[in-house]
Amino acid sequence: MRRSVLVLAGLGVALLIALLLAVTSGAVEIPWRMLPAIVSGRSEDAAPLLRQVFLEIRLPRVLFSAVVGAALAVTGVAMQALFRNPLAEPGLVGISSGGALGAVSAIVLTAGGFFVIATAAFAGSLLATFLAYLLGRRYPGVAGLLLAGIAVNAIAGSAIGLFTYAADDRQLRDLTFWSMGSLAGGTWEIVGWLGPWTLLWVTWLCRQWKALNALLLGEREAAHLGYALKPLRRRLMVVIALVVGPLVAVTGGIGFVGLVVPHLVRMALGAHHRYCLLASAVGGALLLVLADFLARVVVIPAELPIGLVTSLVGGPFFLWLLLTARGTRV
């Protein structure tokens, strides 16, 4: 318990530092000592350009990264408890592939544009999750949901392939970039809508720690402890889809956060969800803020797709973890 509080505090401090680092660096460097002047608006000496970059571009994008990271990590924890498998993530039930199919069909079939693509991606992810849930309900336990998710993912994958085949050069390029993810969509408008919405549901998920703990014991055991499984499963699925769907729609594919962060947190603190959920939220925010920082500074003035960074860094890191820490802990 004291260890958990310490780790949480440490993660919080690290997140603050990462946020400061991320808002000050990029194609336009903002010196640290000018931050107070810029924020307070008393900046006769601060160039208006710096102020504009900071307030209009940097700050909403960094905040958006933190929100997306926290949401991906917390929904990852919830999925892992729901499926009682440390390798589960929201993509398992078709949220990501459904979103990708929506985005791809919008790119190929319409004139495109951010809002058309995002709306189609959101609809696609909700539809895929709903379909997986509906089909999976016919089988007892969570196995049906898993099987239905695999089927939905496969179908979405092949449809994506068809659209890709039919796409022209420009569409192919859009498509590729969408699938590699980007946080450039993080404007004040998006943050204003999705920030509170996401934080609301992430808070709700964090408050379900008892139910998620009970699920870890086993499905029968959870029922014996008073958690009606079907309603619980349905509620969790709906909330996860409502959180991840809009985010995937805006950011495209960002992998590994929902897998690596919960795994690291469980290695440090154990699986007790009272702390695991909170620490994953902070850790996910930290990881994505840093990843977006890297994506922006590595190849200035261009930037790397964020999904590329998370999987480039996350993949080998995860492998290293698995190879070195061969403990019994999951």
Binding site: L216, A223, H224, G226, G270
Partner: protein, 285 residues
């Protein structure tokens, strides 16, 4: 059979009795009739052992009494299982968790939790209890399950038998909290709780279960394979064979070579227990 069958009367018109009971329960799974016309009653304060060969339907009976198995409406127009006089389907999952605790056969926990965290889960159904009460209940459960020395450990680092005792402590904590909240009509259902325990811990677990029945007034139902352990601790034994109850009554009336042969398909010799008076001792030949 000229046995003293102390089963609940199977007449459907009887007033709903207290206790946890099922009347003329049948369960069909696929083409197999797992349970056939089973009536049994678990009363508060008593300890009832279920004996039977593999596949006799013991765990199915326990699951049904636990309220976790869907009851076939084709076979049962009226719900055959009742708890404290109420149809079990009418009691919510959350409410049920406040009157009965269940220890399933195989624990499936594969995530890394502390022993303390696992045992504390037994109190999840009781958010209304004060912190002090919770601590007292956990203390009692921990000492009765004899896991004091495991309290600081991680669950996954324990041996199979130790994990079983930790799970038992969790169940016991839930039961003790239930008897605290509603002193009448609480139940403890244990499915082969001693399967991977050493002899000393088998006895200490059965003693703890016995204590739950005699002191806390709970009805305790155990599925057991060790006939002698069952005979020593249980008030009544029910013999289950091919989904039907062959006999139900006190250990000395039920444990007879003819019946044991029918249940297990092997010869058995029954004699008086050398130490405990009035308790039969079964030796399978």
């Amino acid at each position: 059979m000229s046995l003293d069958r102390r089963m609940s009367s199977p007449s459907a018109s009887a007033a709903p009795s207290a206790g946890l009971c099922c009347r003329q329960l049948s369960v069909v799974r696929g083409r197999k009739q797992v349970l056939n016309d089973v009536s049994i009653e678990l009363n508060p304060g008593e300890m009832l052992g279920i004996l039977g060969a593999n596949g006799a339907g013991k765990s199915t009976l326990l699951s049904t009494l636990a309220g976790e198995l869907d009851i076939d409406p084709m076979l049962h127009p009226r719900c055959p299982v009742s708890v404290n006089g109420q149809d079990i389907t009418q009691v919510s999952v959350a409410q049920l968790a406040r009157v009965r605790a269940v220890l399933p056969q195989k624990p499936e926990l594969v995530f890394d939790l502390a022993v303390e965290e696992v045992v504390s889960m037994g109190l999840y159904p009781f958010p209304d209890l004060s912190r002090n009460t919770c601590d007292d209940l956990l203390d009692a459960a921990v000492s009765q399950a004899d896991i004091h020395h495991l309290w600081e450990r991680r669950y996954l680092e324990l041996s199979g038998g130790e994990q079983q005792r930790v799970q038992f402590a969790r169940t016991l904590a839930q039961l003790l909290a239930a008897t605290r909240v509603s002193p009448q009509g609480c139940y403890l259902l244990l499915d082969e709780p001693s399967s991977s325990l050493d002899p000393a811990h088998q006895h200490s677990l059965l003693r703890a279960a016995r204590q739950a029945a005699s002191e806390a007034g709970a009805g305790v139902l155990l599925v057991l394979h060790d006939v002698n352990l069952a005979a020593l601790y249980c008030d009544r034994l029910a013999l289950l064979a091919q989904g039907s109850i062959l006999a139900c009554g006190s250990p000395s009336t039920v444990l007879q070579p003819v019946l044991l042969r029918e249940v297990y398909g092997t010869d058995a010799h029954v004699q008086a227990h050398p130490v405990h008076a009035g308790v039969p001792l079964v030796v399978f030949l």
